[in-house]
């Protein structure tokens, strides 16, 4: 009879993991969280951009330059199956380079050109003050373009899902179009959905 009662009571909701949820956990961006998929995740971003930043700083055109080379970021091409904010790779790469190698490279804020141009126009028309002659073009040209592409191979079968992503980045000489540096990182992930979803 006790067994029957225990059995009957067991029909309610035992066996549910974390019935109260999980408290918010602060994690490092390079940590694997308990929520994971086979897609592009923060730990991949951190690992890839750290590797690329180290690699770029070793390029002779950067390491041995007498004056800091001027770099423009050209948006990464996303050829994977994952819709992502692709600019985030170059943003992190830029911030790593700026923080790790202060003064060794300079980046141009080309994505802010509309606002910068508007400011210059206002200086020229005298709407706002100017420290120098505003008509003189002082916007810098690029020595190098930093860009890249994300490509993937994905497989999905009854046995699971696999995603391989190749992250490749290039530094291109803006004058000659020569690729002066290129490096890549590759990450493969695979997993299997719970049978309830198969």
């Amino acid at each position: 009879m006790t067994g029957a009662m225990v059995f009957a009571a067991g029909c309610a909701s035992n066996g549910v993991k974390n019935p109260d949820g999980r408290p918010v956990t602060q994690m490092n961006a390079d940590e694997k969280g308990f929520v994971q998929g086979t897609g592009i995740e923060s730990q991949d971003l951190v690992a890839v951009s750290d590797k690329m930043a180290r690699s770029i700083l070793a390029v002779p055109q950067i390491a041995q330059a007498l004056t800091p080379p001027v770099i423009v970021l050209d948006p990464v091409q996303n050829k994977t199956r994952f819709p992502i904010n692709k600019d985030i790779f170059l943003t992190r790469l830029r911030t790593r380079l700026n923080s790790q190698a202060v003064g060794k490279v300079q980046f141009l804020a080309r994505d802010r050109m509309a606002a910068l141009q508007r400011e210059r126009d206002m200086k020229i028309t005298g709407e706002v003050t100017a420290a120098t002659t505003p008509a003189t073009v002082e916007f810098k040209g690029a020595d190098f373009f930093l860009t890249g592409s994300l490509e993937s191979i994905s497989t999905r079968t009854a046995q699971g899902q696999s995603d391989y992503v190749l992250y490749s980045f290039q530094l291109i000489d803006a004058r000659t179009s020569v690729i002066v540096w290129e490096d890549s990182a590759e990450i493969k992930k695979q997993g299997l959905e719970d049978a309830a979803y198969r």
């Binding site: 067994g3 029957a4 549910v16 091409q77 994977t80 992502i84 999905r156 309830a196 198969r198």
Partner: protein
């Protein structure tokens, strides 16, 4: 004068009474065990505004059903031109798909004998998963992100690539065609995807125009519905959708553009093949039937035992059989093999596409949906605002637009 029972008769009757009391106690305990009840769900009062109502539904729905409501609302918002709402809701629905990988408590619960399949997080069947990406891609086009649109088309095909029969793996037409178009739009090579699209479609694909700046997506009819069959509703079936309209003609700026239905959503829903979950549900049925049978046998045995002459009656055996029978019957009743029939039910039956080139401006336009015999099913007039280059203009023409 009443007959006075002997001492042995009295003991025997007391023993029988104790046996009956024991059975009654078990019944009472089991009845009380079933008294636990879920809290009353909050009351939903419809306002008549589908977007506001769906948002309320999302807030009130059990967590496992929210992605379903998000997908429904995302699509409804797209048809109403509420792109911000659509973007947010489809992104939420896509996020839910990310939670399928690996161990999951609610998925494990859905597999267990005593929980329904629909207690798992809704991510839909492969055709529904693919279509979340298909629709999200339309918004990426509109936002000037053809690479992310292409990423969605690739994932849509991937979602369909675990069908049982190889013929039906990744056989959506438009996702491949639009993958190729997005690639060509970005000066990439999309010829492989275009070949796959042509391979999967027996007729003529829409003219391939990488320079098209107006992308017209069409929806025809109403899509498939799910229903459950089998004695315990353990079998998942699809009621195919239907569409009177077979194609549409868009008349704008002196052009007449034919938009065919290149993808059949019901076909995609019904060609996936068996699910792993179908085997699990079949096992639940076996357990349910076996425990029911064992329960019947044990209860009959208990009944027979209870009415044996005193000299042959074994009260311990009677109670034991009754307990086994009741537990077994309850286990059978508590087993829930019903298939998950939650369905993204505002999908269309057919998907169409056409691309055209138009200078920026406002254009009066008409769309006519045509039946197979050429008769007009419905007509709609509207103004088409074409964005200045390089932005693409996206137009969703749906028979389901209110």
């Amino acid at each position: 004068m009443p007959e006075v029972p002997t001492a042995s008769q009295a003991t025997s009757r007391m023993s029988a009474r104790r046996g009956h009391l024991g059975v009654a106690a078990i019944l009472l305990a089991l009845a009380l065990g079933g008294c636990a009840s879920a809290p009353e769900p909050p009351t939903f009062v419809p306002t008549g505004d589908p977007v506001a109502d769906a948002n309320t539904r999302i807030a009130l729905a059990p967590p496992q059903d929210r992605p379903l409501w998000q997908a429904r609302l995302g699509l409804e918002a797209m048809r109403r031109g509420d792109w911000a709402e659509a973007r947010a809701k489809l992104d939420d629905a896509i996020l839910a798909q990310g939670g399928m990988m690996g161990p999951s408590a609610d998925a494990a619960r859905a597999r267990s004998l005593f929980h329904r399949e629909d207690s798992k997080l809704f991510v839909g069947e492969p055709y529904e998963r693919a279509l979340v990406y298909y629709y999200r891609a339309i918004i990426y086009w509109m936002d000037g992100e053809p690479d992310n649109a292409r990423a969605c088309y690739r994932t849509a095909e991937l979602m369909d690539s675990d069908a049982s029969a190889s013929t039906y793996k990744g056989d959506w037409v438009l996702p491949d065609y639009l993958d190729a178009l997005a690639s060509a739009h970005m000066k990439d090579d999309g010829s492989d995807a275009l070949q796959r699209a042509q391979h999967n479609y027996t007729g003529m694909l829409p003219p391939f125009e990488p320079e098209a700046n107006v992308l017209v997506f069409a929806e025809f009819g109403r899509g498939p519905k799910k229903y459950a069959g089998g004695e315990y509703e353990e079998e998942l079936y699809f009621q195919p959708g239907s569409s009177l309209a077979r194609n549409a003609i868009l008349r704008v700026a002196g052009q007449s553009v034919l938009i065919g239905a290149y993808d059949d959503v019901s076909f995609q829903a019904t060609t996936r093949g068996g699910r792993v979950m179908d085997h699990i549900l079949a096992n639940k049925v076996v357990f349910k039937e076996t425990t029911d049978l064992v329960g019947d046998a044990a209860l009959i045995g208990a009944g027979i035992s209870a009415y044996q002459p005193d000299s042959h009656r074994n009260d311990g055996l009677t109670v034991g059989l009754a307990a086994v029978g009741l537990i077994s019957k309850i286990a059978s009743a508590a087993t829930t093999p019903a298939a998950d029939i939650r369905c993204w039910d505002n999908l269309p039956q057919g998907l169409g596409f056409a691309g055209l080139k138009l200078p920026a401006g406002q254009y009066p336009a008409t769309v006519e949906f045509h039946a197979a015999d050429g008769s007009i099913v419905s007509t709609r007039e509207f103004t088409l605002p074409v964005n200045p280059a390089p932005a693409s203009t996206v137009l969703l023409l749906s028979e389901l637009t209110p």
